[in-house]
Assembly symmetry: D2
Homo-oligomer: 405 residues x 4
């Protein structure tokens, strides 16, 4: 019988569920996994067209828009690129904020495409300042700035941009710049209103609040953005809205779409509808509030400094100087089978991030807080014990409103 006992793991803590508490990719519900585990069909046939046409409607509801949406078989990064190459021309001025790793990467992309990027550093602990935007735009008498590009929920820091205020600032400056918003890690988590907030291009991805595998990305676009695309001079093909539009009209795509993910998307939209999108936002608000209460109780700081800008889908926590956040994460992974997000770029090794987005509930967060607190102890990171319990107490009371930002 000896050969059977091949196990080598010491404490066997890798058994049981893997707690994927990343800020994306996120936990995929079995309903969605199964929806994607289906044979392909003819992507030029009637059944496919019926599927696709229904999806455009559904995605519009998620973005809260009555306008056009485009779906690409790509990562969210591709939808960033689509936004740029469809609407801008080399040399165009854009106003962007270096407010986190994804903001930074988008800036780098803009530069690669020859845009003249006015980069504002936010110190990564707060979001873009609406007043500064107003000032910058007011100063731009010649309207060199063609677009203001912001990340709604900066996944790397847990800081949320105040899109409504940014829109108001742009309006106050009476400036024609387009507004681009990356909603990759907020869509389906926090309220987002493409039409009402006057966003021109919203960028979304599948693997966060939509609870899908990665591989689908979105652009929701305003008429103004469509108009801009008619004169934009960047070369484009894969990301070209016009090519997409010609095919989408009848429920098709210019090239083979990610059929299985589209079936998954149908299920995702159903699930959001069943729960009610506003209830989904309330749930994330509750989860974010609980996570922050725990961090506060541990005596630790979130990266986010402005109470108005706390993310409800991810909480980024600073570890005290001299301690290694990645060593801590490794302990948590090995001992508790839980994956936490790490610090990126200027925060490498200095923070950890708890994802609580998408298919997440109170007890999943309770596990996360337990694993974090235990890991802090094991890693010797100074903290006040009891944060997990504080978070859990809020769950018990069921009332997190008074704690909310």
């Amino acid at each position: 019988m000896d050969t059977f006992y091949t196990g080598t793991s010491e404490g066997s803590h890798r058994a049981g569920w893997h707690f994927l508490q990343l800020p994306g990719p996120t936990n995929i519900p079995q309903r969605i996994l199964n929806a994607t585990a289906v044979p392909a069909i003819d992507h030029r046939g009637e059944d496919f067209a019926e599927l696709a046409l229904g999806l455009f409607d559904g995605v519009r509801k998620v973005f809260k828009t009555r306008g056009e949406v485009f779906m690409f078989p790509s990562s969210g990064t591709g939808a960033w690129e689509a936004a740029i190459v469809n609407t801008l021309s080399p040399g165009d001025g854009v106003l962007m904020f270096d407010s986190g790793q994804f903001s930074y990467l988008w800036i780098e992309m803009a530069k690669r495409f020859g845009l003249n990027v006015d980069v504002v550093d936010t110190n990564w602990r707060c979001g873009p300042d609406p007043e500064m935007i107003a000032t910058k735009l007011a100063d731009d008498k010649s309207h060199d700035i063609k677009a203001v590009m912001v990340v709604h929920n900066e996944t790397s820091t847990g800081v949320t941009a105040r899109i409504e205020e940014i829109r108001a600032a742009m309006n106050s400056a009476n400036h024609p710049a387009l507004l681009f918003v990356d909603t990759i890690s907020s869509l389906g988590c926090m309220d987002y209103r493409h039409d009402e907030w006057g966003v021109d291009v919203s960028i979304g991805g599948s693997q966060k609040g939509l609870m899908l595998p990665p591989g689908l990305s979105f652009n929701a676009v305003s008429e103004k953005a469509v108009e801009a695309s008619k004169t934009a001079k960047m070369p484009r093909c894969y990301w070209d809205w016009q090519w997409m539009r010609e095919n989408n009209a009848t429920g098709f795509f210019p090239y083979t779409p990610a059929i299985q993910l589209l079936y998954g998307l149908r299920e995702s939209i159903s699930m959001l509808g069943e729960e009610g999108l506003e209830n989904v936002f309330k749930r994330h608000h509750r989860l974010g509030t609980i996570a922050r209460a725990a961090v506060e109780a541990w005596g630790l700081d979130t990266v986010c400094e402005n109470p108005k800008e706390h993310s409800n889908s991810v909480t980024a926590v600073l570890v005290p100087a001299g301690h290694d956040a990645d060593a801590f994460r490794k302990i948590v992974l090995e001992k508790f089978n839980m994956a936490l997000g790490g610090g990126l770029n200027r925060y490498a090794g200095k923070i950890f991030r708890i994802g609580h987005m998408g298919h997440c509930n109170d007890l999943m967060l309770a596990s996360s807080l337990t694993g974090v607190e235990a890991g802090l102890s094991d890693a010797g990171i100074p903290h006040i014990s009891g944060g997990a319990r504080v978070g859990q107490s809020l769950m018990a009371s069921g009332n997190t409103d008074s704690k909310a930002a």
Copy 2:
């Protein structure tokens, strides 16, 4: 857009994972779910035979036997029936213990088949008393008792029978009775040694420690049991070992087997082997220890009174008199999307049971304890708060040995 917002759930706590903290059926790993989601094959063909022959070997390792094992497409209850109808004759005496709901049901079954059951009530808070067995058998000079039938892990109470001591008692009485043991909720969770402990018929099921869907059951049998089956007079067909054996020899079954579950079983055996069976037992010991520490900290009592008989796969907790355990469970289900086991029969409404068997780890248990503690508060059940934290502290320290029974 209005029709989209169809959600009616208030707090939306049903989103995210469903925490299935029952003492069976248990959480099924995705590996096993996928292993079962396969087309059927010819159950009279070579590929099937190769699968089946490998499974017999694997199941033997799980039971720690070199003897014969039988696999039935049925619930565990069927394997109880198989044990009886293959080895006994109407009117045979058997010694059984009314030590919980499943013990009770097995007794009822024995009576239905015309056995002369000597029922010993244990008050449901402890397991069968080895000394009493020794005495009973010693008194049975005429060897009317043909079998001693005990449940290893009484799922309804969280009390574990001391099989090794029972075997020793039987040996000391020098009595030829067969020993039948129900291992349904202990197999793959707590150490079990069919051969070494001299068990004659072990009964197992798929949906507990084996992490499979329900629908497969097992008999592991000694040569003595096989010998008994040659003269046993109960009519039998579906459960007949001899019919099984004739087919099993070449890797087949007398009737259509549960093909998909057998594929799942192959994966289950692989997973147990990868972790190492002894590590699996250590993990459950750790989980049981943590659960009991939390119960103690809440100031509540486990049903199990004898520290030597605590189950490591399920913990049954008494709620104080005058309180309704089922109302509490309903709150936990609705608010936290967690299913706990309820009290059965004489414990209906009086206890709740936390399953921590099979595909379970520290953070899953942490969630359970959190949900239980919050639910106790919400249900107004008197308890000392902090039990969840005590359990979680043990996880942090990683050392539960000093707390173990």
Copy 3:
């Protein structure tokens, strides 16, 4: 790169779909596979009860009954046993027909349970003779015969019993015997009317026309059968209707049900409803007609001799004397990745069986006929070439009515 080229199969014919043209288990639609690939839930909870109560309704529609149905976690063989032990007593007389392997096995089971079986051999090429039944019953003045037990669709021979005529014969004899019918390989394939035909116990299984994995079985019962169960003296527990009924009333089961298969059953019932049960029967009639036309064109004989008794779910074909049907089947499996059914018992090596039941359509049958014809050539079995084409021509014309029995 060398190690990559590990393939050893010569002609690589095992690539692509496996054609499972057995008379069960049958091809499982992806919809059903995915419906079964789901986590377990509390089988004592409200969600489960809702599922189960809906299933009883659905299963009644499939059996065309308004009476009770029971669902067992077992193979179909178990539902045979359930029919016997619930309604009869040792020594009871029963009239049965040795008309194929499954008829034979059921007879053997009846004998094991002490029934006094009057066995009529049919030569395995025709079904039970209604006139003989009328005579036998008329002769049984003392009403020793308590049940007539017949197999509707004898899977081993492709012969269908004329249940409606048998019922009429029983009525004409004015005899109170119960009528038991095994519908395992006809349910969901050929018209079956439990109530209208006055059947007392119908026996069904999951892995044939219901397109499910094996592991679920059914009893549909008349009030007369229920009445008989009140005085029947066979010991029973696992199969006990009364125990089932007490639990089923509220949507539960006396022991852990095969939860995942029940989810699959829900999907199966939906699919049958979407196609329309009568359309399902027409499709099978069409498939059977085509298969028989091919056999006739090959100059081969079906086992079934009576044109009124041809099965529409399986076609059994005699190979000329001196030829080995199993060697032929082996060629077909290895060369074409298609599994055909073999001959059983007195037909071992003498016939092959083409299953065309459940999730089957014209082109699947076209493949089967192609593989059979090619295999006949390769195995050197004398036949007129062109049978596959004849079958395919019927598909083209879309009109098989003139060929129907």
Copy 4:
């Protein structure tokens, strides 16, 4: 019971398997579907890196290269774009052949990116002429042509380009142009040798011979292509090899990869390895030979005119003038649940295409031929009956070598 009979389909031919005989997407084996139906993991973690590093090795074997490969979360169209933007600069000359719809689309893409495309029309019935390439390159004394871009297997016509001869022609002209080859519908179907044939950029996709869902694409690149990328001036980000390379070195990607498809890819590579890549090619050669024999027997013409250029993964068939290929395909879909490919662009309505690539075997092709022949009859398209049978006869004999091109 009435509400149950909701089926409205007349002949119910949509039951059973859907025959997806498209030239992509293709039939996905259950093994691969299940491999993709898994939770996400941390794409920045060690487990992921181990997966990815193994995949790079495997993909190299499939392309037969020891060089670099890149994997994009995109459709194959994206990998075309990646090839262009990484290696070329606006205004660069390229030599391309308008030899089918996909060749045409690639040309259109090249134009969008400002390339100076020398387009050669081939009449869509033959592939690029190696001699013409030699002449064109010899004439290009100033080396204005930076790349020759050809489609290996033109999916829209079933014509295969002779890459080895094209390479020889380029060598004979002693011209430094890069060679780009689209292998999307040949990879894993027909022999392809990136290194040996001196290809500089090979473009692949997931949903054809690799048997995966759509959503992954590939570039295999030579050192010369890498060198070219260092000076290429097209802006790029999503498709940038350098960004990819920096991350790939340690098993990661610059943005979230299509994790689930990568798990599927691992399974795909395993399956190709188990069968043996050369056996996979033999199987497709056999399938192509059989398909062409049937077409010939029907008295119909393939689009491909040059016997040396027949595709083994797709057969495109011309319908006689005055007949509508799409009406025919609609009949086949509705009556036989089989999807065939249609004509594109200049062949719209004039041809149909039978895909026999990827997870395909003899009997699947037999079904296709049956469905096609029946559909031709039903659609009133003139043909000699018996083509299906001719194809099937070749299956029986098992010897298609004499018929091979």
